[in-house]
Symmetry: C2
Subunit: 197 residues, 2 copies
């Protein structure tokens, strides 16, 4: 057995997604061998970031300013709101670099099985934002799962009659994907939504 | 782009073995969502452990006491020293629970290719420990690679003429392993070292 502090550190690291008990042990050893150069700076950074970061009161993302950098950015197109399930999805869409509008993070999707209702999600604020004027389109970038689609449908209903276009992401063949490996549902959707070349 | 602190945190986490850029992003988000319950305690623990842990001046392992808990344990068999390449190997052998002697961490193996010579490893201190009297066996628990075996051979030579038994781990079929998946070298070694049932 290693020292109790080390065992405790391994146990905490093992809780991170992507690290199991064995890789947590390797990560802990990596840190312990670089106490000055990596471990202490990481500790400081974790502490500082935990103190600095907060949930954006407008869109619900995590950032070191409130409102977040995206909500505060005057160059962003304020007529579009892209609704995502989680901060990770916002980051992914933002990295893609095509979308220049605003975002709204729901914090999950409706799920009868897990007991997640509309009041558990950041939906009321989305409806308020959409109703405040100036918004012309709400893009529902939610997972193509049953729960994701249920949530999209629910939000669509809540926004009905507001003179706002409610759209969703296109289904189709992933760029770089091989047809052979695609499921039937995606192939059918891609075929149905075919476009002139 | 997320806030600079968050991007910096992701970059630091991505350096941990077992975490790539994508899983570091997931891990960072996991932490950011649990700022009070996980992120701050992890920061404190990293800071405290980095301050508490040091290299054992006797055997070279990492522990919060010097000499380490194993070197200081009076119940350990002081006639045996098990030589390992790295702290991770010491932990693995200690977890296995069979071995009750002392350890010695080399901090690597000899490698002509990577320019690692005997003076770069914790070998001089091993020879001193072995020569200090009371030690009857040195077990070389080194990797079964060319570099590991070269190192074992070198240490064997350095300890020759000291009336100390120098042994190595057995080669053979891993417990629970299927013959079909084993390489020829292991199978030959296991066959050569066969034992009466």
């Amino acid at each position: 057995m290693a020292a109790p502090e080390i065992e405790h550190l391994i146990a905490l690291l093992a809780k991170l997604p992507g690290l199991g008990p064995r890789s947590a042990r390797r990560a802990a050893l990596y840190l312990l061998k670089r106490r000055e150069s990596v471990m202490t700076p990481l500790a400081r950074l974790l502490e500082d970031t935990a103190a600095a970061v907060a949930t954006c009161s407008v869109c619900g993302t995590l950032d070191s300013t409130d409102p977040c950098a995206i909500c505060a950015d005057p160059r962003r197109d304020r007529t579009q709101i892209c609704v995502v399930e989680d901060v990770a999805d916002l980051w992914a869409l933002d990295r893609a670099g095509t979308y220049k509008g605003l975002f709204h993070v729901l914090g999950g999707v409706l799920s009868a099985l897990e007991g997640v209702g509309p009041e558990d999600l950041n939906i009321a604020r989305l409806v308020a934002r959409a109703g405040a004027g100036g918004v012309r389109e709400v893009i529902l970038a939610l997972s193509a799962t049953v729960d994701g689609q249920t949530t999209a449908h629910y939000i669509g209903e809540r926004l009905a009659g507001k003179d706002i276009a409610v759209t969703r992401l296109a289904h189709g063949v992933p760029v770089g994907g091989e047809l052979d490996y695609l499921d039937d549902g995606t192939l059918s959707a891609a075929l149905k939504a075919r476009r002139p070349v």
